[in-house]
Symmetry: C2
Subunit: 405 residues, 2 copies
């Protein structure tokens, strides 16, 4: 018989704290480039480096993770963690950012020479994320200014002038609202609230707009969230229009849930719970093999992304956060049951009892498809963010339980 | 007991001709946009359209396929095939090509509005391929001029000025020789030889340079062909440097084999046979499940491409051409045995007895992973090119056999 998930709360907490410690040990031990600064992220199963390229997204994210741990988890309030975050931030401002254009490189060599720029805003967003959290940890005005300046550049690019995209960008691309942009901006403004609150206040209206844009992705009579829609919130034709990314939608769900809490908005809360979490989980879970699909087509066609049926670590990390937050907010056990389901799948399939951190990529059947712990898109971010948030929530839930007894 | 592959020659021929007919029927019946012109390529298992986006690579390639069939396979010398090729070429020159810049769109809407441009030369190369073959079929000077003009634009971009890449292109990217560029150019110049010979003559020196650049990808004491090397033919560090793409290398192998035949160059011939074909096949074949891996790392690390262990249709199409050509050139049975192995895997796993054409994407274990026949990267090209070339070679081999008896 399935154990009552409420009775498992201490077990979840213990496992999650244990994995968080191992995860941070792993990155601390293996990813620091003591010579050039910055972080290696192409790390094998045992932490050995299989490529020295440094990825802009992952540099900013690791700075954020270290600084957030320092700021919010007592046992990680260590000088060496703060110093590692500062060294990472220096690499970001000196090598990832082009000082003239503010454009950030997607990939640089280990010594910091640019290899590739993307025609998107994501590296720049993770730059803001890292810098703002580090300002809070270090109280150094330099990082605050870095965050504010880059934030205003991003908003300028999005609203006024996207020539940063490069001269092959095109009008027709811009008619599409993808879930990623408003999610990213909401995440940044939420981030500012706890680090540089005057900037959060400045962008309050933008945050509302982002929230509305995310809600505009709800389609087909409130039954589904689609990854791409038109700017007037109509379904787009073709694969792009039918695309679902369940992990991404569930992540948007917990963003919205936090925002609903802040605004005391019950309608938004219910939308987040019912559509972004419950309906999406129902649609995105692989009942045969377990795990969340990476991409689906709402009409059941084959997605054209070759990796559509793979199970990736990050959707599972996001789902753990989302369902635990939903349970904490509602105390409705059905959400804890979903957390339980994702927790068990994650610990069984992604965990590495030998070296710590999670594997990132499984086949549809749950077989490890790439045996590394970090790569061009997997760094020190989703796993520790999920584990630290879940640890905190589990403590809060259990404390609340004690107080109610 | 395994049947002697020489005894199977008539069986191969029969199956290949049968599949070629079904393949062309499939595209002819389902892919033509009678209203806007151009070809739909997002076609499901039964040919039904699941997306109306038109892809620049695949427009050029389908024009080439139709024109080549018209020019070289008697039963396809049909007026309706020539007309379909001409209509495709009109869509290419009117909608895929930007008349001011010559830059070709990677994707356009069904009515021809641009959606995306790539920072590469490939759409432009397939433009040349289609136009030059169609000139031969139609004898219309217009298509000849289109081919010549685009060819000279491509060479100008590659040699003098790559601002076409967009303003996010970067010096550091350019220090890498990827197998694709010299292969593509060699393919175009070879194409010119049979269609616009004066252009082939003009680019003779470039063709030699391309051949040398491809040979520069042979690394590690002549044991392996790597996808990316430096321009002075040294191994690059990291994943990029260690990357192998067996299907691509085998394709390069038959390009070299043709070139060796033209130049009467036995050393080149042996290099193509021993390294590009035999060694690569040995490294790239999945002994456990059958089929060629998509990507491998020469040191056995996990490639970072999520699809590394999938089995794609086109490497198998290329391997069929390569090993049959090798057998035809040498009459060494070991090459026919490899052809036999690839033929059997292909017909067993990729074929669709119900609707014709091949499926494109299998899991490592050989399960169909995407159930469509065409998509953003799979059109009317690799399958018919392989089948028409194999059909012709099988006829030649069997005729030769008869003459020798």
């Amino acid at each position: 018989m399935q154990k009552d998930p409420v009775a498992r709360l201490p077990e979840y907490l213990e496992k999650i704290s244990f994995e968080l410690d191992r995860c941070i040990d792993f990155w601390f031990k293996h990813s620091h480039d003591e010579i050039n600064g910055g972080f290696f992220t192409c790390l094998g199963k045992d932490g050995s480096i299989y490529d020295h390229t440094k990825y802009g997204w992952l540099q900013g994210r690791q700075v954020w993770t270290y600084a957030r741990l320092y700021n919010s988890v007592k046992r990680f309030q260590r000088q060496d963690i703060l110093e590692a975050a500062i060294k990472g931030a220096e690499f970001l401002s000196q090598h990832i950012k082009n000082k003239e254009t503010q454009k950030c490189a997607f990939a640089v060599t280990k010594s910091g020479d640019p290899i590739k720029y993307q025609r998107t805003i994501f590296t720049e967003c993770f730059y803001v994320l890292g810098m703002s959290e580090l300002f809070k940890a270090s109280n150094s005005d330099h990082f605050k200014q870095e965050a504010i300046e880059m934030m205003s550049t991003i908003v300028h690019w999005l609203k006024d002038d996207d020539s940063y995209l490069g001269n092959l960008a095109l009008k027709s691309d811009k008619s599409i609202s993808s879930l990623a942009n408003p999610m990213m901006l909401m995440c940044l403004i939420d981030q500012m609230r706890s680090t540089i609150p005057e900037i959060a206040t400045k962008y309050e209206k933008l945050e509302d707009e982002c929230c509305l844009e995310i809600l505009g992705h709800i389609q087909r009579n409130h039954s589904v969230v689609l990854e791409n829609v038109s700017y007037d919130f109509k379904e787009l034709s073709g694969c792009q229009g039918r695309l679902m990314n369940p992990g991404h939608t569930i992540e948007a769900g917990w963003f919205l849930l936090r925002y609903a809490e802040l605004k005391n908005d019950n309608t938004l809360k219910n939308t987040a719970l019912e559509i972004f979490l419950e309906a999406t989980f129902f649609q995105g879970w692989d009942n045969e093999n377990g795990g969340l699909f990476y991409f689906l087509d709402v009409d059941g066609f084959s997605p054209t992304q070759l990796e559509w049926n793979m199970k990736l670590w990050w959707p599972h990390c996001e789902a753990m956060i989302a369902f635990l937050l939903a349970f904490k907010e509602t105390l409705d056990k059905k959400f804890l049951e979903k957390f339980d389901q994702v927790f068990d799948y994650t610990m069984k399939h992604f965990c590495d009892p030998e070296y710590g951190e999670l594997f990132g990529y499984l086949s549809q059947e749950g077989k490890i498809s790439m045996n590394f712990k970090g790569g061009p898109f997997k760094g020190c971010f989703h796993v520790p963010r999920s584990l630290m948030m879940c640890e905190r929530m589990l403590n809060q839930i259990m404390d609340q339980g004690k107080n109610n007894n």
